[in-house]
Each structure stands twice: as structure tokens, then as C-alpha cells.
């Protein structure tokens, strides 16, 4: 990269907190966002716990007009808009503009958007009521719904698009935004991703038996990354958003700076060498991490903390093995590693963005959120890295560089390197 890229604003709608300040508090205290989900029980899901963000109606009223709030069934759209606008405000930027802001854009991803709205529409169409769908069906379900809506609110005149790479979506969007700024094509990009909540987005995962069904009576214990008793992920939802800016532009307007994005990498294992639609090709994961380091111009020894993908499936051990190989560090020499999903579950397409927001907050405020539900570390993990890397017994002496990785269906990988500014 040639232009340095910094983070100047954050926004979040997470299962355990809505809003940056609340999220920072929830991370420090290790507050869980997982609860029993009566709707999943009523629909006889195997997994009946979820991480669903909750907030008062007044939050919606502060952003959406009376008309927009009617038939607002697309939760991923709502979460995305709330997080994106919070990040913009947090960066100290104004909403109103008479003309397009040619140097500001948005890249805001999702997996699939507005399934609740789709369901409502499909029921109406099948009842021969297509003409009664109204104007909101399209704008709440198009993949670019969040970027389109926010772009209009803020008059964003640079790129306005929506990326999709399953559970790597959020991390990919941030890297795409950083690269666009670094190469001089934009001054400022609002990046992030969101994911719907509810049975119609999670049902397919429940059917694949990748969600845990062993903790329906103890929700907060359900999401167990790194644990020997991990039995699948807890479905969750939300959105994370970051304002990325060229350093020179941020300095010129005296913007708050949370941290710097040194670089990163995205790749795919091509569903070869053990990789498949749902399983990672480890060669590609290792390569992705190493390329991210090269691109960022730092060495593996400089990484203080890894915010892993770590979903609480059997693949957590494989992920740890891949990190040890990619960094050539193991045992007590391994960096600190954390699994934000222990607190919030797997927010799917939103995970990369929400977890990067978590990483950036820790970088800025210099703390580590606890790893929860991993007291019983999986033996294949504890024989590769020291227990202290997961459950530190003393305060970390420095937190300067964080590696954040996300992996997704389709054998896709994304890794970002963040540095304290």
C-alpha cells in the first residue's frame, strides 16, 4: 500500500450490546449475548439458543421514517443501517451534504439479506397478491440494500457496493475498503457487514447439524470456541461498521484515530487438498495469513493478539494448527488468541465486521476481552499452544498488532493486520 489507512469511526449492533460504548463495556466484562430463543423452540429446531441483538423501538425511530418503519422485516438491513450510521457519526462526520461526496464511498456486505421480508413477499405472491407487495420488498431484500440506503442518506459519491463471501464477508469488506483508499481511489470508505436474525436465515445451518443442540438449557454456556466440549456454533446476527480514512485526510480534519490497517489478504483454497464447500484447505489458510503479513510489512513475531475465526466446531483445532504453522510460533511463544464468538455466537456474514470492531476497541483501549466457555481447552489445542495464550494469568505487556482472520463456506479466507496508532 502507498497511502496509510486508519480507522476513524466504529458502529456495532451485536448480540451482547448495541452501540460502541455498550459493546466496549460488554467485551470487558465478558457479557454473553446468547439466550434461549422461543421462536426456534416453537419451530422445533435442534438448536434453540441464539445471539439476537435487542434494542428499543426508539432506536428505529431515530433513523427510519414512519413510512420506512412500516413492514420493516429485513433485520440484516436494519442492523446494517444502524451500525453504518453510528460509525459515520462516531467519526465526527456530518449527515447532511448538498452534493455527492466524491471521495467517500461504502462497501457493505452480507450473506443473504432480508429473508424475513422475502418470506412475507413469497406468502403474498403465492396468495396472488403481488400487486400489494408495495415498494419496500425490493429495497429491503436486494443484497446492496444497506449500501444503497446509507449511500443515499450520506450522499456518498465514491464506490457504492456490497460484497459477499459467506463468513469472511466483513473482513473482506474492510480489506477492500482499505485497498481502495491505499491506492488513492477514495479518501474515505464506510466498510462492514450485516446478517439477518431469525429461523429463516439459521434453518439451513440447523439442518446441516453445524449448530450446537447440547446447550438449550444453558444458553450462555452454548458457544464454546477452543473447548474440548465444543459441539457446534450458536447462530447469531448483527452488524459491524468502520469508517476507514486515508491518514492524511484524517489528520487534516483532526479525526479521532482508533488504529491503523497495515494490510491484509484474501484468498481461496479452491476446494482442493482437503478444502470443500464447507471445510478449509489448510494450505490456503496458512498462505492467506502469511501473505497478509508480507503485504503489511511485518513479521510473525510482532503479532501480539489473534482474533480468530474460531466458531466452536471441530475445526477450531485445525485453525490453531494453521496459525502455528503460518506464524511458526507455538507453545508459550504463540501470541494471545481470542474467540469473540464465545460471547456473541457466530454472526455469520456479520462476524468479520463485528469481531474487527471488537479487535479495534481492544487495540485503542488496550484491554483483552476474556475467552469464555473455553476453560476445558481442547487437547489438540492445548498440546500446540500454552494455556496462557488463551487464559492470560498476567496483564499483556503490549498490544500493538492484532491479526484478525475470517474463513467462510466456499473455502474462502480473509486476514487483516491492525496496528495501534
Amino acid at each position: 500500500m502507498n497511502r496509510r489507512v486508519v480507522i476513524t469511526g466504529l458502529g456495532v449492533v451485536a448480540p451482547n450490546a448495541v452501540g460502541i460504548q455498550n459493546f466496549s463495556d460488554a467485551l470487558r466484562t465478558g457479557a454473553s449475548g446468547i439466550s434461549f430463543d422461543p421462536e426456534l423452540e416453537a419451530l422445533q429446531f435442534s438448536c434453540r439458543i441464539s445471539g439476537t441483538p435487542t434494542f428499543e423501538n426508539t432506536v428505529l425511530e431515530s433513523v427510519f421514517s414512519e413510512i420506512e418503519r412500516r413492514n420493516l422485516q429485513s433485520t440484516g438491513f436494519v442492523y446494517g443501517v444502524l451500525a453504518a450510521l453510528e460509525a459515520w457519526n462516531d467519526a465526527g462526520l456530518s449527515i447532511e451534504t448538498a452534493h455527492p461526496r466524491w471521495e467517500s464511498g461504502i462497501i457493505f456486505g452480507n450473506g443473504s439479506l432480508g429473508v424475513g421480508k422475502f418470506r412475507e413477499s413469497i406468502l403474498q405472491i403465492d396468495a396472488l397478491q403481488t400487486r400489494r407487495l408495495g415498494s419496500s420488498a425490493v429495497i429491503q431484500t436486494m443484497s446492496s440494500a444497506v449500501s444503497a440506503y446509507v449511500g443515499g442518506k450520506l450522499g456518498l459519491g465514491n464506490c457504492n457496493t456490497s460484497n459477499s463471501s459467506a463468513c469472511a464477508t466483513g473482513t473482506e469488506s474492510i480489506l477492500a475498503a482499505a485497498e481502495r483508499i491505499a491506492t488513492g481511489k477514495a479518501d474515505r470508505i464506510l466498510a462492514g457487514s450485516s446478517s439477518d436474525s431469525g429461523p429463516y436465515i439459521w434453518g439451513g445451518f440447523d439442518a446441516m447439524r453445524v449448530c450446537t443442540f447440547k446447550h438449550n438449557d444453558e444458553p450462555e454456556k452454548g458457544s464454546r470456541p477452543l473447548s474440548g466440549t465444543a459441539s457446534g456454533f450458536v447462530p447469531a446476527a448483527g452488524a459491524g461498521a468502520l469508517v476507514l480514512e486515508a491518514l492524511d485526510v484524517a489528520l487534516e480534519r483532526n479525526a479521532p484515530i482508533y488504529g491503523e490497517i497495515l494490510g491484509g489478504h484474501v484468498n481461496s483454497g479452491g476446494q482442493r487438498n482437503g478444502g470443500s464447500m464447507t471445510a478449509p484447505n489448510s494450505v490456503a489458510v496458512i498462505r492467506c495469513i502469511q501473505q497478509a503479513l508480507i503485504h503489511s510489512g511485518i513479521s510473525a513475531s510482532e503479532i501480539d493478539l489473534i482474533n480468530g475465526h474460531l466458531t466452536a466446531t471441530i475445526k477450531d483445532s485445525t485453525e490453531i494448527e494453521n496459525w502455528t504453522q503460518a506464524l511458526q510460533r507455538s507453545g508459550a511463544d504463540f501470541p494471545q488468541i481470542q474467540a469473540t464468538k464465545g460471547l456473541i455466537g457466530h454472526t455469520l456474514a456479520a462476524s468479520g465486521a463485528i469481531e474487527t470492531v471488537a479487535a479495534v476497541l481492544q487495540l485503542k483501549e488496550q484491554f483483552l476481552h476474556p475467552n469464555v466457555n473455553s476453560e476445558d481447552i481442547h487437547p489438540e489445542i492445548s498440546n500446540r499452544i500454552a494455556v496462557e495464550c488463551i487464559h492470560p494469568t498476567k496483564k499483556l505487556h503490549k498490544l500493538d498488532v492484532i491479526a484478525k482472520a475470517s474463513f467462510g463456506f466456499g473455502d474462502v479466507n480473509a486476514c487483516l493486520i491492525l496496528k495501534k496508532y
Partner: protein
């Protein structure tokens, strides 16, 4: 139902769609939904659905196309009511 009654009812239907609160204060037969009330043209279909619900009528596609101002809309509503 008199024209005045229809106009009063229509004004309340249209109010939340308008981005021009001052213009909403003097809605008349000559008022244009898009030009005067700054209603997003995409949401005109929602106004039509609300009109159908409020007056208990059905509006076909060709009548719907005319509903861009108050005068035409009231004519469409009167016509639909007369055929109930």
C-alpha cells in the same frame, strides 16, 4: 362521500410520505404529489395501496398511473366508489 371529505382523508394518507411539511399545510386539488409534496416516486405505489385500504376500493393499473396529483386521485377514488 363529498369531495371535501375525500380530500381530507387523502391528505392524512399522504402526510407521512411527504418530505415537505409546509406544503402539506395547504393541499388543494392542484397539488402534485411529486413536485409539491416531494413524495418519492417509488412510494406512490404504497400511497395507492393505502388509498385502497382506506376507501375499501380496488384500483386497476391504468387508473393507478393517473394518480400523481390530488385532482386525478380524487377522480379515481370517486369513480371506484361509484362502481362499488
Amino acid at each position: 362521500m363529498t369531495q371535501t371529505e375525500i380530500l381530507a382523508k387523502l391528505t392524512e394518507i399522504v402526510r407521512p410520505y411527504s418530505q415537505e411539511s409546509t406544503a402539506m399545510e395547504h393541499v388543494s386539488m392542484e397539488t402534485d404529489f411529486i413536485k409539491d409534496l416531494k413524495i418519492d416516486s417509488a412510494t406512490l405505489v404504497d400511497v395507492v395501496l393505502d388509498v385502497e385500504d382506506a376507501f375499501g376500493i380496488t384500483i386497476d393499473n391504468s387508473a393507478m398511473e393517473k394518480m400523481t396529483n390530488v385532482a386525478n386521485t380524487i377522480a379515481v377514488i370517486e369513480d371506484a366508489i361509484s362502481r362499488k
